[in-house]
Amino acid sequence: MDNRISSQQMAFLLFFLLLGSSLIYVPESFAGRNAWMSTILAALVGFMILAIMLRLQLMFPGISVFKIAELSLGPVPGKILNVLFLYVIFAVAILSVGDLVTMLRQLFPYAPAFSLRTLIILAGAYCLYKGVTNIARLAEVTIGFTLLFLAIGFLVPYNLVNFANLLPVMSEWRTMVGAVIYGANWPYAQITVLLFMMPMVTDLQKGYPKIVNWFMISAGILTLRTLLVLAVLGPEMTMINAFPLYRVFRLAEVQTFQRIELFFFSLWFTTCFMQVLLYYLGLTIGLKELFNLKDYRSIILPAGLLIVTVSIYTISSDIYFLQVLTPASIPHDLPVNLLYPAIVYTAAALGYKKVKDKLEPSPSSNTAEQSM
């Protein structure tokens, strides 16, 4: 199983992870007409997390974050933090599957959630069996039509745009500031799952600017999405709709065509599925690192079954998912996603020499297998 990827591929994976399910949901909608500013401010939080992740991996190229944590913090505290981080990855994996299933049931209301979850995870397991390199190639292949659909998607409802819905600017600064945390948690803080894939990047030293560039492109697209939704629906409708972008496309009219929103189904499904896939992969790699297994292949199916089983057990209804699990994910996930990389980075920076001495002699950049 080939597990080496380039910086460009990692950048595309980051792009899909950021767009993920938040593309259609608009997490910052609570901010009303200033939600687009909340999106921008939330992107700054994400940028800080990305900077820490890149800096950490550049300090110890090819070394897994779990190993860095245990060497810099000590075996016991490091293990405890690693378990906590992996639990949050698992929880977000369940939420990601829930997002995709809830979205699919809008289009296919009679499709049983049990079956949808099973099929999604089995499809993900197939991709995982093909290896990380092929998953990265999948991202490379689909980036083209994703960007095309995004461009068309932003143009189609243009005749419905009413910029007056965005005015006055900064009138509700309190809600704008409050909504930043919604955007920071989802999707920006969720990029921490890529910590598991960072050691596989073969040219991170030279190629990390590509990752930063695509982060900014993603943030720009998410900001445009928020602006479009607010301009078309207005702040109140944006807030009360569970899937504001879907609602925008339902209003769009193109000649005599109906159900235009289904045309963009492939876009939403692709970004959501990639997010689920990356979290499934992260969980599998995390379990492999935690239990010091030789390879993650053998636990792909058990990990997938765990996601399916616990998600069925936990998510009793779509209402419970949207009204309880989604908002409560902020205090549940955000502190760990913010603090885990920061703590590991700080400890590794302070004990850099000690950690370096404990590691084997510095490998070349092409030995990403070291951490696998």
């Binding site: 609570f30 099973t118 053998s298 636990i299 058990p302 936990t314 205090p331």
Partner: protein
């Protein structure tokens, strides 16, 4: 739910069973078996016992909801 678990176990045995035995990867087999055992327990509780008394992430989310409501109230966030 139990059918789903049986499906995954069958696939796991078919795809990984022989390789795990051949390479004597007992640790990998043990981890996989433990995870599957946990899933079976959850499956049995969900389908047969129907108690939903086992710990799951939703319980912690529910306990954190007052914090979310207080936050939303302070920042005057709707929804």
């Amino acid at each position: 739910m139990l059918f789903i678990i049986l499906l995954y176990i069958s696939l796991y045995v078919l795809l990984e069973g022989r390789e795990l035995l051949r390479s004597k990867s007992w640790r990998e087999a043990l981890v996989g078996a433990v995870i599957i055992a946990i899933c079976i327990v959850y499956g049995v509780d969900y389908v047969i016992i129907e108690s939903r008394a086992l710990p799951h992430p939703g319980l912690l989310f529910e306990k954190l909801m007052p914090l979310v409501e207080a936050y939303n109230s302070f920042f005057k966030l709707g929804g």
